[in-house]
């Protein structure tokens, strides 16, 4: 077993801490001055707000949306996949899983752009869309895991003991799936983070002056040569968070016995 590198922990901890605690450190009343001035800790942003406060305020949406979307994808995808895997009729399996193949033929960013335009802006919408994009993969993984577990003699032995559906399909299967799903959750979380950041950058789902790291990167880009912090700091935070998460989960995964 390898030691978790402190660098990776730091890369995750700093953005996460800023994202979760940051909003409480922002004063309710903020002075507004001209854009891209060197005032304050990190200067001002493209509408003259204090960049440091924007940084404190702007992580929550990225992090929470990614977390909520991942959670939602699991809440829907896992029962979906398990239902398909345990369905007695093959047609149920087909009806549940085939449409997901269709989703795969639509590029996720196209889906994201069109759906976001249909649904209009809003955090809930963004969560829903990112979850929708993540959910087919979750359902497939859950189905594959459930199929594997459902074919295990241990489960059949339980059925031979007359165990109830609840104990076999929920308790036993749930516990057995926890590990593969937990391993997958890391991948899913980083890709949700990626999608949320990309969406925000594209101006999908968030107001254009939102306190949001990805939006900050986009909107403050024009001032890159005047006041680079307004771009650099949020960009570095996003990159650190996703790289750090990736490193941590990669390490955690490697500890799994082959």
């Amino acid at each position: 077993m390898r030691r978790v590198r402190p660098a990776a922990v730091l890369m995750v901890a700093v953005p996460l801490l800023l994202a979760l605690v940051g909003p409480w450190l922002v004063p309710a009343e903020q002075a507004r001055t001209a854009p891209f001035l060197p005032d304050g800790l990190l200067g001002t942003d493209f509408v003259g707000r204090d960049t440091w406060y924007q940084v404190l305020d702007g992580g929550r949406s990225v992090v929470l949306v990614a977390l909520a979307a991942t959670a939602l994808a699991y809440a829907v995808g896992v029962p979906w996949g398990v239902t398909a895997a345990t369905a007695r009729l093959r047609i149920v399996d087909e009806v549940l899983m085939r449409p997901l193949d269709l989703l795969l033929a639509v590029p996720s960013l196209l889906l994201l752009i069109v759906l976001a335009t249909v649904a209009g802006p809003g955090v809930a919408v963004l969560v829903g869309i990112v979850a929708l994009i993540a959910f087919p993969d979750v359902a497939r993984i859950a189905r594959a895991a459930a199929l594997e577990i459902g074919g295990r003699p241990a489960l059949e032995a339980m059925r031979m003991q007359g165990e109830s559906w609840w104990r076999t399909s929920v308790v036993y299967m749930g516990r057995s799936m926890a590990r593969p799903l937990a391993a997958d959750a890391g991948v899913r979380l980083t890709s949700s983070l990626y999608l949320v950041a990309s969406a925000s950058f594209l101006g999908v789902g968030v107001p254009p002056d939102a306190a949001d790291w990805a939006v900050m990167v986009d909107r403050n880009r024009t001032g890159l040569f005047l006041q680079p912090w307004a771009v650099v700091v949020p960009a570095v935070l996003i990159i650190a968070l996703s790289v750090g998460l990736n490193l941590l989960f990669d390490r955690a995964l490697r500890k799994e016995p082959r």
Binding site: P35, F36, F46, G120, T222, G223, L226
Partner: protein, 510 residues
Amino acid sequence: MNAITRRGFLGLSAGLSAAAVAGCGSGPTGAATTPKAGGRLRAAFAGGGAKEVLDPHLANLFVEAARSKALFDKLADLGPDVAAQPRLAERWEPNADLTRWRITLRQAVFHDGRPVRAADVLSSYARILDPARGFRAKSSLSVIDLANSRAVDDRTVEFALTRPFVEFPNVLAAFGAYIVPEGAEDFSRPVGSGPFAFVSFEPGKSVLLKRNPDYWEGAAHLDELQFVIANEESARVNALLGGQVDYAHDLTPTTARAHASGDRMTVVRSPNSAVQAFAMKLDRAPFDNRDLREAMFLLADRPQLVESTLAGAGQVGNDLYGKGYQYYADDIPQRVRDLDKAKHLIRKAGAEGMTIRLNTSTAAAGMVEAATIFADQAKGSGLTIEVVTGNKDTYWADILKDGVMSSFRSGAMPIETHIAQRLLSTSGTNVTKWARPGFDALYEKAVSTADATARAAVYGDMQRMLHAEGGYLMWGFADWIVGTATTVGGVSTAPANTLDWARFDKVWLG
């Protein structure tokens, strides 16, 4: 990639106000001061992708307007003060009751060598007025009674109008009212009378034009003119900095600030350009209450809005359209923020504790930001402003019907046109639902008054009405900013939508 969010519609949403600031005429700027002939100028504009067309009557985007201007001519166009001045029309003369106008055409030829004739003018206008088609200039031209208009000879047209109309030259300068050869329908290889002739077109990508040596106003300096599409501002700036283009249209104040002092580009500002506003609807609660409208006027901290949203690149507005344009009522005192009075008026209107939804969208740059800042400014006034961001693609149609207050932005046009299109009870795009029979009557009086001074007085009365109780909170006028390579000369600072904006026949490469 804000290609999706920042596609500015030209025309009306992003025009420029004329020179309100001293020295802001149409004087050429640029490092190279001596005109030089030859070369190809590459100009980067935001585009409309595959929907771009070369049909000048369909033009909607800045890039389409600029290309139309290079390829075609109108009978008249707007000068730096946004008043009509003759172009293909050498001169115009109305009859005594202003219902018949005789236009004398200049000696000009199309690129294929045919002369521009009265018949071309009439057929172009007939095409625009075709009831089965939705050309943009149609509503402006609808004052013409085409059936009774006629070609007196090849170079003389006599227009019959449906009513007395002293501002008829504004119609001739209307957006998209270009003269095309008689019968022209296929614009895949357009033929016009403009300073440049068509070479090639790749939709969504580029248009290449070459100098028209026989242009009636004298041939252009440039050999070739290429329009290329870069939807994102940063891409236009990068392309300019990377030497891939020589002219980048529509830059942000921040870019201007970052590069103004450097030697990598020349920044050309057309100060005081697009008007920035909030529109309140007068036909419904709560803004059917005049006190509440005034309270909103008094809540706005205009200098801060200009400073933050426009990064200082603009001027404070006084709730009236067309600062510095002909007939602008600059004798009306500037409104300033007065929170106490606003609070009092809000209480008086019974709007305390009320939440007002302010519709906005990214349909034009800066609108959402301005709305958020205004909502901040309203804090502590007794009412709450909630910013609602709507769909950018349908925003302008949506705010025409829905909501009570919305972000608004407009480009340059004569004040008369602004009134006719937006402030009469019959106007098609009356966002504020300002419908006053008295005001309509004043408009009728103004446009049928031949005497300029008397007419100006009527316009002044109308503007006083609007300032006192209108629905537009016009808080600022933005600069229009263009970046060019340091070798480019002759770029005008005139507002967009006016004659000298994006006028590449006057530009040269040093």
